[in-house]
């Protein structure tokens, strides 16, 4: 079964998501250049937990009027399979990529009332101060109670909020864009990612938001737990017995999304699919799932797009 949107065939299937713990970090700096440098460093090598310690990406640019210190900011989201497997890469990445980056400061992006738990990242981060760190308090007895650490660095001070909200999040949102050639598929995928990043609470952790290899569980090699998604590789569609590439499609790109909740991921998927279908040369859109064996979230493309 399938349906069409803007003349593009869309398979009536679902993206299979799974639960992860997520956090949002607001990185500010003297200017947008340095905030983005820190954000890119912090979210580097964080595409998939297949081989990375976490999944992370830039959510959006935060204007100075929305940041706690009134400086340009970048919202970064990071995901791990457990609270510990979230806190550890957070600490490592903040310590190595943000603390080291000139002029930066970090703030919690998920308030305590919205969080499922609070990660005391500052409790470990503060030790970088080697005893000279200063605990900073705000709001005691009259306003929002906040705690920060001021850590001396050679340039001045690194200011870090002590606790970060962690939330039971959703990873593995996805859809595949299939086009008649590489150019159309890439253009459609870029537009899809642009549309997705307009949705709050969602990131696309792969390069530019796109995964060209796809992935499937396991491989013909015993030592390899995941391999390229061969059923969706057009280059072998007539030699691979289990190819799922439709006729007329010669390039496939996967958009992968993680979000703070299922509705956000579904909304972002819909925005991305709609944007992709507006590009000429796109033939087919589907999603990757494992028949419900991998994760508890089954995000149907029909449901996402609101198609009856």
């Amino acid at each position: 079964m399938s349906f069409t949107l803007n003349g593009v065939g869309i398979e009536d299937t679902f993206a299979e998501g799974f639960g992860m713990w997520g956090a949002r970090i607001i990185i500010t700096a003297k200017n947008r250049k340095w905030a983005n440098i820190a954000a890119r460093e912090m979210t580097g090598f964080a595409t998939s937990v297949i081989a990375c310690d976490c999944e992370a990406g830039i959510e959006r640019q935060v204007p100075p009027e929305e940041t706690p210190d009134g400086r340009p900011g970048v919202s970064v989201m990071i995901f791990g399979f457990s609270k510990k497997r979230l806190a550890t890469p957070m600490l490592n990445r903040i310590g190595q990529c943000v603390l080291t980056c000139p002029t930066t400061a970090i703030f919690n992006g998920i308030p305590e009332e919205e969080a499922d738990d609070m990660l005391d990242v500052g409790a470990s981060l503060r030790f970088f101060g080697d005893g000279y760190q200063v605990k900073m308090r705000m709001g005691d007895g009259w306003g929002e109670r906040q705690r920060f650490w001021r850590i001396p660095v050679m340039e001045g001070e690194f200011l870090a909020e002590a606790k970060f909200g962690a939330i039971r999040a959703v990873a593995g949102g996805n859809f595949l864009i299939m086009g008649e050639n590489e150019d159309a598929t890439l253009e459609a995928s870029e537009k899809a990612v642009e549309a997705i990043l307009e949705v709050p609470g969602v990131i696309t952790p792969f390069p530019g938001g796109l995964c060209r290899s796809g992935s499937k569980v396991g491989s013909t090699y015993a030592f390899l737990k995941a391999s390229t998604n061969t059923p969706f590789c057009p280059a072998i569609k007539h030699t691979s017995p289990d190819s799922q590439v439709p006729a007329g499609c010669n390039s496939v790109l996967e958009v992968v999304l993680n979000g703070l909740d299922e509705p956000s991921v579904m909304k972002a998927m819909a925005a991305g699919i709609r944007a992709a279908t507006e590009v000429e040369g796109i033939k087919w859109i589907t999603a990757v799932n494992f028949a419900g064996k991998l994760g508890k979230f089954q995000m149907g493309l029909k449901d996402a797009l609101g198609v009856e």
């Binding site: 500010t28 706690p68 210190d69 009134g70 400086r71 400061a105 200063v134 605990k135 900073m136 308090r137 705000m138 005691d140 007895g141 009259w142 306003g143 920060f148 001021r150 001045g156 001070e157 200011l159």
Partner: protein
């Protein structure tokens, strides 16, 4: 719900009226409020004897507003220990106003005598005029002064303000007398006027600092100059002062550099004195 108190002829001896709080009047009838005890010397009188009382009482302290319309410079303990609600004095208040208050908002349009906000635990106290000595300080023998809340003073402040401060904020628009923040062990103090000598004496640290935006008479030799810098953390405080407390002058210093001193090394302290560069 607003309850209005107008002072009648007040006694020559100080009147002790710690019952003038939202906590004491909420849930009571006007008759019961008028019968609340106040003290003059060694005699017990009623609140109704010294104040005309009109208006309504609320069920809970947080819904209660008390407005005192008149001078109460010889009335002690107004707002002492209040935990919620609003209290406005259109005039001056006597000693110990807002002492040990734990919540709510207390506004004094005139000046406050000594020990205002002493050992404050929470809430917001605004004194539009001057404040006397020992503002927000610890009582003699007590190990901690303010442990939370905010005091904002529009005018000048006397000696030993914020003595033994542990947490909370003190903001002074005018000048302040000697021994500001003596023995402080935490908390934040902002002075936009001038600061007299010996501030921060025997301060221990614990994240506490005194930020001086005006002239400083002298710094204790037991404070060590570290650097001149423009710390990010100060932006957070100054924005909080401007945006949440309406202190516009704070917004003028968002890009100000500060000379940082650390001490008091006489007691192994790590408190900070931050002096704004002109």
């Amino acid at each position: 719900m607003e309850l209005i108190l107008k002072p009648k002829k007040l006694p020559e001896l100080p009147l002790e009226a710690e019952v003038i709080t939202p906590d004491s009047v909420a849930g009571k009838t006007l008759k019961e409020v008028k019968a609340l005890p106040v003290y003059v010397g060694n005699t017990t009188e009623t609140l109704g004897k010294y104040f005309d009382i009109k208006g309504k009482t609320a069920e809970t302290p947080s819904d209660q507003l008390i407005a005192i319309q008149g001078e109460c410079a010889n009335v002690k303990y107004i707002g002492a220990g209040m935990t919620a609600g609003h209290l406005i004095v259109e005039g001056c208040v006597g000693m110990h106003a807002g002492a040990e208050m734990a919540g709510g908002e207390f506004i004094v349009t005139g000046s406050a005598a000594n020990w205002a906000g002493a050992e404050m635990k929470g809430g917001l106290m605004r004194i539009h005029g001057d404040a006397g000595h020992q503002l927000g300080a610890a009582y003699r023998g007590s190990p901690e002064g303010m442990t939370g809340g905010v005091i904002v003073v529009g005018g000048d402040v006397g000696l030993e303000a914020a003595a033994f401060m542990r947490r909370g904020m003190l903001i002074i628009h005018g000048n302040v007398g000697s021994f500001l923040g003596v023995h402080m062990n935490g908390g934040e103090i902002f002075v936009f006027g001038n600061v007299a000598r010996r501030f921060g004496a025997e301060a221990k640290g614990n994240g506490g600092f005194i930020a001086c935006f005006g002239e400083v008479e002298s710094i204790l030799p037991t404070y060590v100059y570290d650097t001149t810098f423009r710390p990010d953390f100060m932006k957070l405080y100054l924005r909080q002062l401007r945006d949440q407390l309406g202190i516009e002058v704070a917004g003028e210093h968002l890009e100000t550099s500060f000379r940082r001193y650390r001490g008091d090394i006489a007691v192994g302290g790590t408190a900070e004195i931050l002096i704004a560069e002109p």
